[in-house]
Amino acid sequence: MMKFKRSLAVAAALFAATTMSAMAAEKTKVEFWSNSLSPKFDSVMKDLTAKFNGSQSEIEAKWVDVDWDAFLPRLTASLAGGTAPDLVNLPKPWMDDLAQKKLILPITKQIAGFKSNYTEGALKDVTYEGDKQIYGLPWYQVTGVMFYNKELLTKAGVKEAPKSFGELLAVAKQVKEKTGVTGFAPKLNDGFAGWFLYDGLPVVKGGKAVFNSPAHVKLVEAFADAYKAGAIPKDAYKMGFEEQIAAFDGGKVAIFAEGAHALKRTKTDAPKIYAQTGVAPFPLAGGKTPFGGFLFLWSVPKTSKHVDAAVKLGQFLTSDDAQLAFAKASATFPSTNKALADPFFQAGAKSNDPIEKALATAADSIKVTSTLTISGLPDEAAMNKKLDEAVEAAITGQKPAKQALDEAVAYWNEKFSAKK
């Protein structure tokens, strides 16, 4: 009898367990991948996920974070294997690539009801040029702000932060001459096309590469001059985000440009440098946008079976409150009009603290920021490589700028005509 009772209890427990899991299974499971946010932003992401799940009776979101370097290979492999998540966090250039290859879904229809929440610049970024469809829900964005070492600039006799790009390079040279320290670390290791666009110079026009005009040559030559003078680092091409911060923190570079979040590192690692860090908006050039603007967004992979649920989750993550919570935690900026108007971002306008000041400065710049990227190239990997190698050869003085750009343009046009 005892035995019978016990087995009955076990059966009942089993039954309860299966029905409960069956009930849970009725919820639509939506997996979403963020991009390199763990472990720094674990708490805000977990919080947002829990809030979303609490507000939904039919959808259950599961958050996964994937590292920057592993992101594309892993996403590509999962798309090929049919196991891709329902929502992925992409930077704008990747969105263009994936939209071009039709690996993510247009969500123009789904977003129509609430797209006016987002800023105009952000909406422009999530629209793929090729077919004018919207492929993403705008999320956080950053923009370049100029940070400078006040002591070095004073020593060099520079009274105020440069106001144009030409002035910036001139100041960099002056700092090198007077103090021996490298003046300015431009971001070069992500490719040079962005610098052309920053200067308002087209890279491709009417299906042809056009980056060998006198204006393009002049821009590359300006970099080459600065390189030769030692005004920009000898290993500028080896410097990414981490290396630039390290060089600035070590007093080896006087000026660099990044988002406000970069200074968090300086504050903890190099308090002396932090105390004398000046902040100014990155000067605008012909492209009417600061360099270093970058928008992250949420897209729905082609293989998703729960598009509506995924968009619902994306809408929640990019809502005013959620964006504000994330922006505050990460020193980045939201992409909705209402969240951006929050007094939080202007609080530091008069502050002497570099991070607060940087946030307020960037909040002004962000309104005119767009992501500088080109898309729709037939053989992107090879073409970008050719362009970057040509410019590197020109900047480091191995080839005249005109010749280097001519060669790259010829290579590009060959690829363009092979496509037809």
Binding site: T76, N189, Y237, K385
Partner: protein, 295 residues
């Protein structure tokens, strides 16, 4: 009584677990890769269409692929150097002196160090204001080759003329311990009497090395040369972490990777991969001719 066919069956049964794993993770991917190389593969819906060798025609005329192959073949320079060095080091640590275990372990540490971590260290060695240039500057100044305060500023991984050799230096450092251990095993299989007899006959260390050690570890040389040749042709990780393919260090597998994961062109990547395999096989055949046992 057991027949020979039941022995065969049992032999296959013993091999089955390994064969099944290899089938799933090696043979099947190789086969599918070969299939993809001749097709246009659409990632969107997973369809593959026969394309009449279009990928091979494309890479045959692709300047970037040519320079990638050239760089991968250039990487072969590391093979003889690392083989000879590993053999010599193995010979050195094969003695019975106290503390040898320490040296054996130290040479092996780079092998088990994660490539990404080792690369962070090595990029600080190779930086233009890094350790290597600093040491060279000290030496130069001590020998009065440089003026006081003058620094060596070589861009070890930034200058396209030398970057690939710097990466090879990294590969050498990372790999030598691995081959050393293989050679050590080979050396310990040499009976002590042979060497003793040679000593009695008055052979010096140089003669013993070339007349006894080298011939007797020949099978190990074949194995190690094969392994390091394949590793050299496959050079990729080291390049990604040190130079990201910049400064003329773009290797063949980097091309494959970029085609697959930047261009999403799996067919073309597969075709390029197949061409690289072909190079590996040719080299393997040559090496078997050179070092293999003559029958």
């Amino acid at each position: 009584m057991k027949t020979s066919s039941s022995y065969t069956t049992i032999a296959y049964l013993f091999m089955a677990p390994a064969l099944i794993l290899m089938g799933i993770f090696t043979f099947w991917p190789v086969g599918f890769n070969t299939y993809l190389a001749f097709h246009d593969y659409a990632l969107v819906d997973g369809t593959a269409t026969w394309n009449n060798f279009a990928h091979f025609k494309y890479i045959a005329g692709e300047e970037l692929f040519h320079s990638a192959i050239k760089n991968s073949l250039l990487f072969l320079l590391v093979v003889p150097v690392i083989q000879l060095a590993a053999l010599v080091v193995a010979k050195l640590v094969n003695s019975k002196l106290p503390g040898m275990t320490f040296f054996r372990a130290s040479y092996y540490i780079p092998v088990i160090t994660a490539v990404s971590i080792a690369a962070v260290v090595w990029s600080n060695v190779y930086k233009y204001d890094g350790m290597l240039n600093m040491i060279l500057s000290w030496v130069g100044q001590a020998l009065h080759l440089l003026k006081a305060g003058e620094m060596v500023e070589i861009q070890w991984i930034g200058d396209p003329h030398i970057a690939i050799f710097s990466v090879m230096g990294f590969v050498f450092w990372k790999g030598i311990g691995y081959y050393m251990v293989l050679y050590l095993a080979g050396l310990q299989a040499i009976p002590a009497e042979v060497e003793e007899a040679a000593v009695l006959d008055g052979a010096n260390a140089w003669q013993r090395f070339w007349k006894i050690t080298v011939p007797m570890v020949k099978p190990t040389i074949l194995l190690c040369t094969l392994l390091s040749t394949i590793a050299a042709i496959k050079a990729f990780q080291e390049v990604v972490v040190l130079t990201r393919g910049q400064s003329d260090t773009y290797t063949a597998l980097f091309y494959v990777y970029a085609q697959a994961f930047q261009n999403y062109n799996f067919g073309r990547a597969a075709a390029a991969g197949l061409v690289i395999t072909f190079f590996c096989m040719i080299l393997a055949i040559i090496q078997f001719r050179f070092f293999g046992e003559k029958k």
